[in-house]
């Protein structure tokens, strides 16, 4: 029993650490897709966030001291948000195919980031950052037996932030007028337009929010997991966040749950050789688990996952 607990003490905090960037990015995806704009570009936006986060951290560590990682996350949020404007303009105003535009964002994100890294550092990856995202012990809760050390000891500050963002997103999307408008332009933009809602404005805001959140996700991942930036830093995390969004049925809390589960799968995959009863399970099964589950979820084997109705259609005023 005690070995089992010891395993959990390693796996659970690692799962939460892996989940945090996925939560940010998946929630970003929820905003964009709920407004009716497909965002395949999450991966590229996340790459951009990771790159900006690391570079900002490296250059301004003397100015901001211990606050550097947080300011870096903010900077990553801003830059990725601006970067996502490209996707917004293309898919909302220029009526581009949103999937193609997202693919372009993905290719462009990694290309710009690597181009800049080579220009600034003269090599394929950055130096390592000195100031990482701090870990906290949550007072009182950490003293709970069993659960305390699992969930509340040396938690990354970013994980707490991620869960707060998910709850906040749920509140915004389901409890505020803005959230109602957001959902309505994603379901039936013409009806929303007739009610005086500015469809394209809401969609622009939604895509920019998704860019910002994906940027935060990228910066968090880079500053907790890799501590530098190179071509393989993000490597699919954005697509896994996309999977989490779908697996969570386009709902912020659902996306968070899926993200935590996918984080758990990643943590298990990395540690499977050192876990007594997992050593015979090939690690690739755990690696592909999130993707397989997403396909299964989409196929409707565990409750049909249906996206917003107007997903992928640019809104053209006056058309039927």
């Amino acid at each position: 029993m005690s070995t089992f607990l010891n395993v959990l003490y390693i796996i659970v905090p690692l799962s939460i650490a892996y989940a945090a960037p996925l939560i940010f990015t998946a929630i970003g995806g929820v905003f964009s897709e709920r407004s009716g704009v497909i965002n395949i570009g999450l991966e590229g936006l996340m790459v951009m966030g990771a790159f900006v986060g690391i570079v900002f951290n490296l250059f301004f560590v003397d100015t901001f001291g211990a606050w550097t990682p947080w300011v870096s996350i903010l900077a990553a949020m801003l830059v990725s948000s601006i970067f996502s404007l490209m996707h917004a303009v293309a898919s909302i105003s220029f009526r581009a195919d949103q999937v193609v535009s997202g693919v372009a964002i993905n290719l462009l994100g990694i290309a710009i980031a690597l181009f800049s890294v080579k220009m600034i550092f003269g090599k394929g990856q950055t130096d390592f950052i000195q100031e990482k995202i701090p870990r906290f012990n949550i007072p009182f809760l950490q003293d709970i037996p069993v659960l305390g050390p699992m969930f509340f000891k040396s938690v990354y500050g970013s994980s707490i932030l991620a869960i707060s963002v998910a709850i906040l997103a749920w509140f915004i999307i389901y409890k505020t007028p803005f959230g109602l408008r957001l959902r309505s332009v994603g379901e039936h933009p013409m009806a929303a337009d007739t009610m005086g809602i500015k469809v394209n404005r809401i969609r622009y805001i939604a895509v920019l929010v998704s860019g910002g959140l994906a940027g935060m996700g990228g910066a968090v991942y880079a500053q907790t997991m890799t501590n530098d930036f190179g071509h393989a830093t993000i490597n699919g995390q954005g697509f896994m966040a996309l999977a989490a969004m779908i697996f969570g049925k386009w709902h912020p809390i659902g996306a968070m749950g899926a993200a935590i589960f996918f984080g758990f799968a990643q943590a298990l995959a990395i540690n499977s050789s050192s876990i007594p009863f997992m050593e015979n399970v090939p690690s690739f099964i755990l690696y592909i688990l999130p993707y397989v589950l997403t396909i299964v979820a989409l196929a409707g084997f565990i409750g049909k996952a249906n996206g917003p109705k107007a997903l992928g259609d640019p809104y053209v005023k006056g058309s039927r």
Binding site: I38, I40, M86, A90, S93, F94, R95, A96, D97, V99, V100, S101, V103, A104, I105, N106, L107, L108, I110, A111, I112, L114, F115, S116, K118, M119, H231, A232, N235, G236, F239, L242, A243, I246, P282, S283, F284, Y287, I288, Y291, V292, T294, I295, L298, A299, G300, G307
Partner: protein, 348 residues
């Protein structure tokens, strides 16, 4: 301005815009864009060796482009070309390595294995789309990662913990001493003929066969095709299977021609995603794909010369390619601009 001219102008303008913005990026970053593009040009056409390598690079791009274009014509977006290409690469490398057969059986068998592996990888999203109406974009993206991890695991288990398979037998190789000597000992191989033959196959399938007619009808209007008595579900599955087979053959180019084996990968090859650009630029037609593949294959290979000759990071070409995709995707606005221009001229 006729529709036809506009259809040609949109990709041309997108390419020019992509190159222009690329030049601006170089300028802003403190590089000399003229030296940069000169280095790119020399990297593509500088000598016969470079030309040979460029043509070699074009072959998998043609096949990846065909894969995306073929699915597009049936109204399907196959983002899974990357994964289908990887499983094709593995299948070809494995068959090429594990069997000992005479060349006239071994080489076709290895190519067939690659096509079959890609086809199976396309079959799954095709079936899910046809039977359960699951959107193929998400499924194919997920299938990419599943392919990557499974192939890596297979390589590890077959090579007993290693990171690559042994080289393929000579009897399965696409290598050609003749082509190689012709191009100053580049790695150019017979794959380009396989790719061009597949272009012909796609044209023949789409424009000369009943199957192609049905596939295109489903792409234009599913309901109309259904009313006309076509089996929409069967056609969707067929389109994904054939698309996957093209992609799998693209992997065979790398396995049997360029590399001669397969190594475990941390990430994707990128060929499959660039295939989207190839197909878009080529307006999803067989001939257009040759044009798009030539452009992107040349850019990708020529970029290798940029760090040495002009001290510019190779990624500038990836930026240009991504921008071209972006501009082609935003073709609507280019179209609107062109129409306005032509109307102004007529008014004068």
């Amino acid at each position: 301005m006729s529709n036809r001219i506009i259809n040609v102008l949109v990709p041309v303008i997108s390419i020019i815009l992509g190159l222009l913005v690329g030049a601006v990026v170089m300028l802003v970053s403190g590089y000399d864009p003229i030296a940069g593009y000169a280095a790119l040009w020399n990297g593509i056409f500088g000598d016969t060796y470079a030309i040979g390598e460029t043509i070699r690079q074009i072959s998998p791009y043609i096949l990846a482009g065909l894969a995306v274009a073929f699915a597009f014509r049936t109204g399907l977006f196959n983002i899974g070309v990357e994964g289908q290409l990887i499983v094709g690469w593995f299948a070809a490398a494995y068959v090429g390595m594990a069997f000992e057969l005479p060349k006239f059986i071994h080489l076709p068998l290895a190519l067939l294995a690659a096509a079959a592996a890609g086809a199976i990888w396309g079959l799954i999203p095709g079936l899910l789309k046809a039977t359960l109406k699951v959107h193929e974009v998400i499924v194919t993206i997920m299938m990419n990662y599943i392919a990557l991890h499974i192939v890596n695991a297979l390589i590890k288990s077959i090579s007993h913990g290693g990171f690559k398979l042994d080289k393929i037998q000579e009897t399965a190789s696409l290598r050609s001493d003749f082509l190689s000597e012709l191009t100053d000992f580049s790695t150019l191989h017979y794959g380009i003929f396989v790719a061009l033959f597949m272009v012909f196959i796609m044209w023949f399938l789409l424009d000369r066969m009943k199957l192609g007619y049905e596939l295109k009808s489903v792409g234009f209007n599913e309901n109309a095709a259904e009313y006309a008595g076509m089996n929409v579900k069967k056609n969707i599955v067929m389109a994904m299977v054939i698309s996957g087979a093209f992609a799998g053959l693209g992997g065979a180019m790398e396995a049997l021609g360029t590399f001669g084996n397969i190594s475990a990968r941390a990430g994707f090859t990128g060929i499959g995603f660039d295939g989207i650009a190839v197909a878009l630029l080529g307006a999803n037609t067989p001939l257009g794909v040759i044009f798009g593949a030539s452009l992107f294959g040349s850019l990708k290979y020529g970029a290798n010369n940029m760090p040495n000759a002009a001290d510019i990071p190779i990624e500038i070409v990836s930026i240009v390619i991504a921008l071209i995709i972006f501009f082609v995707a935003s073709g609507y606005i280019i179209r609107v601009g062109l129409l306005r221009l032509s109307k102004k001229k007529e008014a004068k």
